[in-house]
Amino acid sequence: MAVVKWLRRNLVVIAGLLTLAYMILPNVVVMVFSFNKPNGRFNYAWQQFSTDAWADPCGVADLCGSLALSLQLAAWATLGATILGTMIAFALVRYRFRARGAINSLIFLPMAMPEVVMAASLLTLFLNMGAPLGFWTVLIAHIMFCLSFVVTAVKARVMSMDPRLEEAARDLYAGPVQTFVRVTLPIAAPGIAAGALLAFSLSFDDFIITNFNAGSTVTFPMFVWGSAQRGTPVQINVIGTAMFVIAVLVVLGGQFIASRRKNSASPK
């Protein structure tokens, strides 16, 4: 009876932890199988422990090339989408202008559209214009679908900003440029950073839109997709695991620094 009672009281916690396990399980499998030595071309069944793939992560043709391309693409797409998106977000929050409704829906629609629809229609445009498919068409597409997400992230932050801070800066004889650089930008920075981070991960991990518009260019997700047909090298798991570990360390490190800064800033 005590057990039943305990289960009932902690039902939410147990259900939540089970969901968390469901979400983490594939990452564990990816990690474990990065130490596998598969028999055939596919790395789906466990054979024996080996660190071969970790010793030679670029040992598969084109793998690291596609990874470098994806990183480069994500960096440029992030830069483009963050600049354009931040400008739009500031205009939307701070100014009155005509056609606000139309502009709002133009920003909302890409997020409410299945990716395959955008991918197909963009390909139609490129084919009609005779644009050669490759790095540039993919970059254009990535900036397009990241843009709305950056706008949403930055807008949320700018909206919660106290406009009196900027008024105070102007009262203290700061010029418009100085006010923007010394007051507005630092306060909006977390929103901009969140938008940029979102854009980077969306671009880096995008498959559907890229697959339609890349031509013969191969990004990392496209390499993984192709290998699901031809044979999955263990190195894919190595890179997946490395990305996971690095990202978690960066996030935890950032939180550690933030919490320490908070502690030292708060009066004792």
């Binding site: 968390l20 469901y22 354009l84 400008m87 409410a112 559209m113 299945p114 498959f207 339609f212």
Partner: protein, 306 residues
């Protein structure tokens, strides 16, 4: 009189000029981004609309003939894939809500000092490419693997294959595997909006409900859940929309019997090169999703007010 009146007259134009320049600021800020969206999002949709009513072949070229028959032909041939897409995406969305809600609740109210760690664990899977993680499900659900073994021993697979969700003692290449993959892939998109709206709820409301002799269940039904509705709405949208157009899970974890409409669009566009049919299919998908989203947002908006 004329002397005193003159200064304001000369002073006004510059003031006016500055405000005119200021009035243009938002347009300059909007211009590049909006232009980008117009050219690379809106214009392609128009091109696609025109492609869907064209006729012709790759060799002879395509011409607009207002051939709306393509839409009927496409629907007649591929309606099972449409139904399947909506069914799989709908099921995955409900599963995401059922699985995601307890976890979001846990992070918002029960995690205490573990909150940040659990949040990181929710976002962390994102950092490994979703294709690699989806391939991992091939290993987890593999024939003769532990998951299949346990479910088979418990006779769960008998029930699911009687329902038509699985076939024999297999999980891979079945509808259940595809829905399981969709649910897995879009869970974070459900959990994060849910968590955001749950976290905003004032804890004192729970205390007040308790003080008024509400049981925990009643408190949840009358206070917590209604207040989390914005998160439920945006979470279900963020899950359903991408799931309806997804073809990665159907291709990697399913079989030819589990093809979703995204697969069809992709193969018509990239392999069969039947552009009008592909464009028509993509337009129908867009219309279905937009109508469903609009109706749903209207409905949930009114529920919010009640």
């Amino acid at each position: 009189m004329t002397v005193t009146e003159a200064p304001p007259a000369t002073e006004e134009p510059p003031v006016h000029k500055v405000s005119a320049r200021k009035r243009l600021v938002p347009y300059w800020l909007l211009l590049p981004g909006i232009l980008w969206l117009l050219v690379f999002f809106a214009l392609p949709l128009i091109y696609q609309g025109s492609t869907s009513v064209q006729e012709g072949s790759l060799e002879a070229g395509f011409k607009v003939t207002w051939h709306f028959q393509t839409y009927w032909d496409a629907l007649a041939e591929y309606w099972p894939q449409f139904i399947r897409s909506l069914l799989y995406a709908g099921t995955a969305t409900i599963l995401c809500l059922l699985l995601g809600y307890p976890l979001a609740y846990l992070i918002a109210f029960k995690a205490g000092r573990w909150r940040n760690l659990v949040l990181v664990l929710v976002i962390a899977p994102f950092f490994t490419s979703f294709l690699i993680r989806t391939l991992a499900w091939k290993t987890i659900l593999a024939d003769g693997g532990p998951v299949v073994g346990v479910l088979d021993a418990l006779h769960v697979l008998d029930v699911t294959s009687w329902l038509g969700w699985t076939e024999g003692s297999r999980l891979l290449a079945t509808p259940l595997a595809v829905v399981c993959g969709l649910t897995y892939n879009f869970l974070p998109f459900m959990i994060l909006p849910l968590y955001t709206s749950l976290e905003r709820i004032d804890g004192r409301l729970h205390e007040a409900a308790g003080d008024l002799y509400a049981t925990p269940a009643t408190t949840f039904r009358k206070v917590t859940f209604p207040l989390s509705m914005p998160g439920v709405v945006s979470g279900t949208l963020l899950t359903f929309i991408p799931a309806a157009g997804d073809y990665v899970n159907a291709e990697l974890l399913g079989s030819t019997d589990t093809k979703m409409v995204g697969s069809v669009i992709q193969s018509q566009f990239l392999r069969v090169l039947d552009y009008p049919t592909a464009a028509a299919l993509s337009f129908i998908l867009m219309a279905i999703v937009l109508i469903m989203v609009t109706v749903y947002m209207r409905k949930s908006g009114t529920e919010d007010l009640v």
